[in-house]
């Protein structure tokens, strides 16, 4: 089963995933029309800033067992087994925030949503784009990400790739792999800048 896998070391902080996510969860489905909708669709993936202002795409891990699901008293949170996705039923959600308190990753938000009953504030989080997947599409955040920070693949395949990277870097006389010198340069400058500003 394919899953969205996050590679934070690749995130350039462009926040395109947030836009694509909001548009994908709008009534109209396109960015230009989505911004005119009421309520406004909001992203379910959130790019935070790291210590050096580098990007970090933060989205629901669809934990199993899921702390949010266990904390949900009315039973609004359930698992969609075919895609292994933790979902929230907006009709059942009572907006009690228990799930937010239980969530270790801070990925749940509370607001009126185009896909929830009109006027009702509900818990909203990543649904792995189950509707898009049902249509044969991949999740919107992955589709828009041009740097490979978000991929949609079998978890074991991604892990095997990582195993090979680690193995190659462990070779005694291996030069460190430099895939993107410009990105490393940018990161070095940002890191230096932050350290200088925080010092003294």
């Amino acid at each position: 089963m394919k899953q969205v896998i996050v590679h934070p070391e690749r995130c350039v902080g462009c926040m395109q995933c947030m836009l694509a996510c909001a548009a994908a969860h709008s009534k109209t489905g396109s960015l230009f029309t989505a911004i005119a909708e009421t309520p406004k669709p909001r992203p379910r993936i959130h790019v935070g800033a790291g210590l050096y202002d580098e990007g970090f795409p933060n989205r629901c891990r669809h934990c199993d067992p899921a702390p949010c699901q266990m904390a949900c008293l009315p039973g609004a949170i359930y698992r969609h087994s075919r895609t292994n996705t933790v979902l929230i039923d907006p009709d059942v959600c009572i907006n009690c925030a228990s799930c937010a308190m239980a969530c270790p990753y801070g990925v749940i938000r509370y607001h009126a949503d185009p896909l929830a009953p009109a006027g009702k504030t509900v818990a909203v989080k990543c649904d792995n784009c189950v509707a898009r997947q049902h249509r044969g599409q991949i999740p919107a955040c992955v589709e828009i990400c041009k740097v490979g920070a978000l991929t949609f693949e079998e978890r074991d395949r991604a892990m095997k790739r990582r195993t090979e990277e680690v193995a190659r870097s462990a070779t005694a006389d291996a030069a460190p792999p430099e895939q993107a010198p410009g990105f490393s340069l940018l990161h070095t400058v940002k890191k230096a800048r932050t350290e200088i500003n925080l010092a003294r």
Binding site: C11, V12, F183, L185, V189
Partner: protein, 626 residues
């Protein structure tokens, strides 16, 4: 005070006013910068392209995603095009500022600009002579008319070379001709930059970079130089003048009028109105003890240089100054005026006035100044400022002001040296002064406010390197106390001896950001005196806290003029290692100077010191190991 504010600025008044704004719940540039994090990496690296609507496009720096835009442009082309457009915008800003001064000069010649006059006929005649204009036995207004016409031609397409570029050493001009980067017309180079960067035109990243240099040269040896020279003609060539700096220059018992922006065309008229005894009497009738005119940013520098008008702060202080509650009016023209200012002012009693037909801002009253009505408008706005004095709430002026001396034009420096650059050359040859560095440019919330400027300056003067500064850097150094003659106590022994005997500070205030051309003129004079090129001199440039497109143009014309330049923040070029390599190494073999990027001012000082010692070695002078 929370540690938080100390990470944002080293300025005491800045820290205290940030604290106040937090209490007042008024958002600042730093809050908005935080809210923008993380900033888009494609844009930071220069690999996003919005030039055409087959796009927008971006290049994956990791190599797996798209490597070309829809049109086929790769990372090198996209980065080069974007940088070229940044330089075009910067050159356009400086040069259009120059054009407005030429317009005033032309109006003065036609006697249609009441209040403006020719204050420096000597400079008028000197510049006119460079354009082959006859000055003998003619009225200044007549000469000014001819000069204004000749300067307008510099903006057009009728010339093969800008006349002002004739001020560069002959070797440098020959090199520009050989490289085909001699600027031909000020507007022409900017216009050509926009043409070249249109989809499907110049797709050679090297040729784009060369044209970028030519465009920048049309600013440095064109638009900016015209701005400085015409300002001197109209308002006087600066002479060393004492002044005071930081928010302590605001007065609790006077009407405080703050001018912010760049062009002296507006601020000079405001000054005249604010100093009129009738207006002062009007202020007294409203319970104030007088009218206190202060500057911010470069229009403040223009007034500081020529009249010793006190300076309230630099770029990142512009919101904070309003939070004192002491500013009765802020008058802006253009460039570097944050559109947030109207909102900040709405939280206090400050009246905000915009004056340029080119620049509007939310939350400001628009009162347009033109050469023919400027004097009247200035009286109108100052009168409103006086009327607003009664609306003041509580006032918080957190610090005492600091003394400084400004006004070091090239003429003033040569004068201080006794009429010729020889004493400076002798001190350089003897090694008492190791070299000179121009520290210029803005503030940027990415760098702790003023820390980059002050730290770099401190390290350089400690090591006997004379510092010439302009713009926001100059204000930072003045606030740090480096601009009084006693500041030689911070200098190394050689610099201390030379500055002490001349009675000048070790850090010379050279003016506003267009006044960087004064540094070019001085460098050219030194090169001519030694019969060499600027790139052979023990000189360096630095922009430790730059943020604007104008600063990129400045950096590019300084490097193209042969001066090694160290930038604090990195320009958006990391997406193309070819462009990075060209700018930081390759240009050495082209124009005899390169850029470096170093956000840590302590390390930047080391880079500049070793460069200067290296240059000394090449000139056959003694070399010290840094």
């Amino acid at each position: 005070m929370t540690h938080h504010h100390k990470t944002r600025t080293i300025a005491k008044d800045g820290q205290l006013l940030l604290q106040k704004m937090e209490t007042d719940q008024v958002e600042t540039v730093w809050d908005r910068h935080d809210a923008q994090q993380p900033q888009c990496g494609f844009c930071e690296m220069g690999v996003s392209c919005r030039i055409c609507v087959m796009g927008p496009c971006r290049i994956d720096p990791f190599g797996e995603g798209p490597q070309q835009g829809v049109c086929g442009a790769d990372a090198d082309i996209i980065v080069a095009r974007n940088l070229c457009r940044m330089i075009a915008a910067g050159a356009a800003a400086h040069s259009d500022h120059g054009r407005d001064l030429v317009d005033v000069l032309a109006s003065v010649a036609e006697n249609s600009a009441p209040g403006y006059e020719i204050r420096d006929t000597e400079k008028l005649c000197k510049v006119a002579a460079e354009y082959g204009i006859d000055t003998q036995g003619r009225q200044p207004a007549e000469v000014a008319g001819d000069l204004a016409y000749a300067l307008q031609e510099e903006y057009g397409t009728r010339k093969k070379e800008l006349s002002m570029a004739g001020r560069a050493p002959e070797k440098r001009r020959d090199l520009w001709r050989k490289l085909n980067i001699m600027p031909r017309g000020i507007d022409r180079e900017t216009s050509e930059a926009m043409h070249r960067t249109h989809m499907g035109v110049d797709n050679g990243w090297q040729s784009l970079m060369l044209h970028s240099l030519r465009n920048a040269l049309s600013d440095g040896w064109g638009g900016s130089m015209i701005a400085t020279e015409v300002s001197d003609i109209l308002f006087g060539t600066p002479k060393p003048t004492p002044t005071k700096v930081n928010t302590g220059v605001l007065k609790s018992d006077q009407v405080n009028v703050v001018v912010h922006g760049h062009n002296p065309v507006v601020s000079e008229m405001v000054m005249a109105a604010a100093q009129d005894p009738e207006m002062i009497q009007f202020a007294e009738s409203r319970g104030a003890k007088g009218i206190n005119l202060c500057g911010l940013c470069c229009t403040g520098n223009e007034l500081l240089m020529r009249h010793g008008i006190p300076m309230a702060g630099n770029h990142l202080m512009t919101e904070l100054v309003i939070a004192t509650g002491a500013v009765d009016m802020m008058i802006v023209d253009y460039q570097c005026i944050m559109p947030s200012l109207g909102h900040v002012a709405s939280c206090y009693h400050t009246e905000m006035i915009s004056t340029s037909d080119k620049a509007r801002f939310p939350g400001m009253q628009h009162m347009e100044f033109h050469p023919d009505n400027a004097r009247k408008m200035a009286y109108d706005v100052v009168k409103r400022a006086v009327e607003n004095y009664a609306n003041r709430g509580s006032v918080y002026i957190p610090v005492e002001s600091v003394d400084a001396v400004g006004g070091f034009s090239v003429e003033a420096v040569i004068n201080a040296l006794g009429g010729a650059p020889d004493p400076l050359l002798d001190a350089l040859k003897a090694g008492k002064i190791r070299g000179a560095a121009g520290i210029v440019g803005c503030n940027n919330p990415k760098i702790k406010h003023d820390y980059g400027h002050v730290t770099l300056t401190k390290r350089l003067i400690e090591n006997d390197i004379l510092v010439l500064d302009t713009g926001c850097a100059a204000v930072a150094n003045a606030k740090a106390g480096f601009k009084i003659s006693d500041a030689i106590s911070h200098a190394g022994p050689g610099l201390k001896e030379v500055c002490g005997s001349l009675g000048i500070p070790p850090v010379l205030h050279f003016g506003s950001c267009v006044d960087n051309v004064r540094i070019l003129v001085l460098a050219a004079a030194l090169a001519d005196a030694l019969g060499t090129d600027i790139s052979d001199l023990p000189l360096a440039g630095a922009a430790p806290e730059w943020y604007s497109e104008k600063a990129v143009s400045i950096g590019a014309y300084v490097v193209a003029s042969g001066i090694y330049t160290v930038l604090g923040p990195m320009p958006p070029i990391a997406g193309s290692m070819n462009v990075v390599d060209l700018l930081t190494r390759g240009l050495q073999g082209v124009v005899g100077a390169t850029f470096a990027v170093e956000p840590d001012p302590e390390k930047a000082a080391g880079l500049i010191q070793s460069h200067i010692e290296n240059q000394r070695g090449n000139l056959g002078l003694d070399v010290k190991n840094a």
